[in-house]
């Protein structure tokens, strides 16, 4: 039955990909949403099934067939639901279903064939993502890993007639290739060391070994895997593709580039928790990279003007938190944040989609403002999700972020904790800058586009064929403040927004820490997945007990830290309110007083430019001068043309023998015969 979970969306993909252009929108969109819902129902049933079992037996494994059998290498196509992948499949199919439903309204202006193409890609993505989390060995995970990369490329470049969308798709695909290459090398290192690629097999083999002290094979393998994760999950140094990926349709940004695909790297580390915890060197690198990414993306998010880009940098920043958690060994906290983040970030993206939809493609927040009254559903859901991501008690983001910061502090990484706390402040600030600039104040028009570092055309304008004319025709009416024609989210979109907003509030309640009277059910639930199979049951209980004991000692500390992060969140919100609502002049003054800093942030620390100068241009130059002008033209063409020239030259000499004179031929024939006969007679 597990196989049905990815197979149902795949069936939806097949139908929409082959017959989609002949189907009306209601059928193709409805079918796509229906298969996702069915997949969700089966996921819930599977999770219920394992939840009903004792702790040490909480896993279902289903071997479909042997995929590769060659010598020692034996790889089965095996799907496995354990406590970790249970969380993932629920997030993917649950939030995936909501986003499918949302998309039926958001993409409604596309023609039928494009609409079906969109849903076929979306279903294919869901199918691969489910393979990624259900696969019980590295190669099967890699199939999903590459498959979601492909779908990401297809969906970022969905409006392929727009050059920037095509470029963004290619950028995402190529940057991910770098990480995927490292991922393959990591798999090879693991096979070389353990002789198996099965997650369970590797975990039990590693559990029997002592943790590595220096930088050995385990550190190398895990580091390579982590580089793979930095590509997929947009961490330093391979994060640059994610902000550009916002060229895709907004629901895609919500599903792929916020809630699911980009968390694959976090999931991968969680899946191999035993392996990673035996490589402390790598874990330190993971934690540092995570913290730095969180801080850097947070600062960039502070000044961006494109509503989706702010959210994109916010995603990078939150993924940094997850890696920070993974790096300090708090795997449960990382997955917890992954799970709560899926709700509020999907809600924020879908909310921004509703804004863009209502404004017919406008994405620049300098052209927004005052939308609170006209888009009440969007406003309230967006606000709830923003409070959740800022980490205000008792919304979901508070619990997960706080657990990460607490674990970081307890593990003794004070500096990383400081960075994390600073990022929490930044998160609250940039999120509420976005809320205030978009929904509060007066409606603004015609912001100076020239000041924009990246004059991106709106993504949604493609959905509306009559978009430009519409916008121009209605522009004057905005000036008089009579923008009563704006439509709030249609029912399908509103449904998704409301459900996700409820999730943003409540999702964290399954992980309420002991310090404030909860039981942190999620951590207990996940614990068996982070220990080796043979000792899973005992470890879960021991972990739970040990944690309970530790919690008691740390309760006071945890409460203090909670107070700090809550203060930071509120301070961030208050600061944003003060700067962007009360004293708008302050923001402008700051820009004027620190023009260098502002430009640095607006241009994203010039990382794209740096990569362009140090990697893209040298490769381009080497390809043009070395591979094309020298190797192709000189060596390859030279070999072909040289062979022809040799034949031509020697033929030029030989052809003089062919005079055309019959008697000359007869003469040479005669001389030849005489010479041959003479040789045999007189030898």
């Amino acid at each position: 039955m597990l196989a049905l979970i990815p197979l149902l969306p795949f069936a939806g993909f097949l139908v929409n990909a082959t017959l989609g252009r002949r189907l009306p929108k209601s059928v193709s969109g409805g079918l796509a949403s229906l298969v996702m819902l069915a997949s969700f129902v089966i996921s819930v049933m599977s999770v219920m099934q394992i939840a009903g079992r004792p702790v040490e037996e909480r896993a279902i494994q289903e071997v479909l067939y042997t995929w590769i059998a060659s010598g020692d290498l034996k790889i089965d196509v095996t799907f496995r639901v354990d406590t970790l992948s249970a969380v993932m499949i629920l997030v993917i199919t649950g939030i995936g279903s909501l986003i499918h439903i949302y998309s039926t309204a958001y993409m409604h202006d596309e023609v039928d064939s494009e609409f079906a193409r969109y849903f076929s890609y979306l279903n294919l993505f869901a199918s691969f993502m489910l393979v990624l989390v259900l696969g019980s060995n590295f190669p099967l995970m890699f199939v999903g890993w590459e498959g979601v990369g492909l779908c990401s490329y297809l969906l970022i470049g969905f409006w392929f007639k727009k050059k920037s969308a095509n470029d963004a798709g290619k950028k995402a695909f190529i940057v991910n290739r770098v990480g995927d290459y490292a991922f393959i090398l990591g798999m090879l290192a693991i096979f070389a060391k353990f002789g198996t690629l099965d997650f369970q097999g590797v975990a039990s083999a590693v559990a029997a070994m002592p943790a590595e002290t220096g930088f050995g094979i385990l550190s190398l393998a895990t580091l390579l895997l982590f580089i793979g994760a930095t590509g997929k999950s947009a961490q330093i140094p391979l994060y640059t593709w994610l902000p550009d990926a916002m060229e895709g349709p907004t629901p895609v940004s919500a599903l792929i580039h916020a809630a699911t695909m980009v968390t694959a790297g976090v999931y991968m580390i969680g899946r191999n928790a035993v392996l990673f915890s035996h490589a402390p060197e790598t874990l330190t690198i993971v934690a540092v990279i995570g913290a730095l990414t969180a801080l850097m993306a947070g600062t960039i998010g502070l000044v961006q003007n494109d509503i989706k880009r702010v959210l994109a940098y916010s995603t990078v920043s939150q993924l940094g938190y997850m890696f920070l958690a993974m790096g300090v060994g708090a795997f449960g906290a990382g997955i917890f944040h992954l799970y709560t983040h899926a709700f509020f970030k999907a809600c924020l993206f879908l909310g921004s989609g509703a804004v863009i939809h209502a404004l017919h493609g406008e994405q620049d927040i300098r052209n927004m403002g005052g939308l609170k009254k006209e888009l009440p559903i969007t406003y309230w859901t967006f606000l709830i999700a923003a409070i959740a991501i800022a980490g205000v008690f008792p919304l979901s983001g508070f619990f997960s972020k706080d657990e990460i910061l607490f674990e970081t502090f307890v593990e003794g990484h004070k500096l990383l904790w400081t960075i994390g706390a600073l990022t929490a402040l930044l998160t609250a600030t940039y999120m509420f800058r976005l809320v205030f600039l978009t929904f509060h104040g007066e409606r603004r028009q015609d912001a100076p586009v020239a000041a924009d570092a990246h004059g991106h055309a709106s993504d949604h304008s493609h959905g509306h064929s009559s978009d430009d004319s519409h916008r121009h025709a209605t522009a004057p009416s905005h000036g008089h403040g009579s923008s009563s024609h704006l439509h709030d989210a249609p029912p399908a979109m509103a449904l998704a927004l409301i459900v996700l907003a409820i999730g943003s509030v409540a999702a964290g309640w399954i992980g309420i820490p002991h310090a404030i009277g909860g039981h942190n059910e999620l951590a207990t639930w996940l614990a068996p997945s982070f220990s080796a199979p043979s000792v899973a049951g005992e470890a879960a209980e021991a972990g739970a007990e040990g944690e309970a004991g530790a919690e008691a000692d740390h309760a006071a500390l945890e409460l203090t830290l909670m107070g700090v992060s809550l203060t930071l969140a509120v301070a961030g919100i208050a600061f944003a309110y003060f700067v962007w609502v009360k004293r708008r002049r302050i923001a402008d003054n700051m820009v004027r007083e620190f023009p260098g800093l502002h430009r640095l942030l607006l241009n994203k620390y010039y990382v794209d430019e740096l990569y362009d100068a140090t990697i893209v241009q040298p490769i381009k130059a080497a390809s043009t001068e070395g591979l094309w002008r020298w190797f192709d033209v000189r060596v390859i063409d030279g070999a072909v043309n040289g062979a022809a020239a040799i034949v031509d030259g020697s033929a030029g000499v030989l052809r003089r023998l062919q005079s055309g004179s019959v008697r000359a031929y007869a003469g040479s024939l005669f001389v030849g015969v005489v010479v041959i006969l003479g040789y045999y007679l007189w030898r």
Binding site: Q658, S659, G660, S661, V662, R663
Partner: protein, 100 residues
Amino acid sequence: MIPLSHYLILSATLFTIGAVGVFLRKNLITILLSVEIMLNAVNLTFVAFGRFAGDLDGQIITFFVMTVAAAEAAVGLALVIGLFRHRESLNPDAFTSLKW
């Protein structure tokens, strides 16, 4: 009895006359005739050897050569007529266009 060497000398003389004719004459028909002379010189050698060896092999092969020569003459003359129609000439130097 006339010794074998006399036949061979006559045959060699005829062959040389034929070969020289092929190389030096400037008329295709004469060249064909020279080729016939060379063929017959060879025939004479075969017959002479056959006579002195005391068997009929030499005569049998001579019949083959005569048959082939007849066919060759027919084809050769047809070619010469064709060439003449083409160029209004029988000089072999007129037919040198089959070269580089």
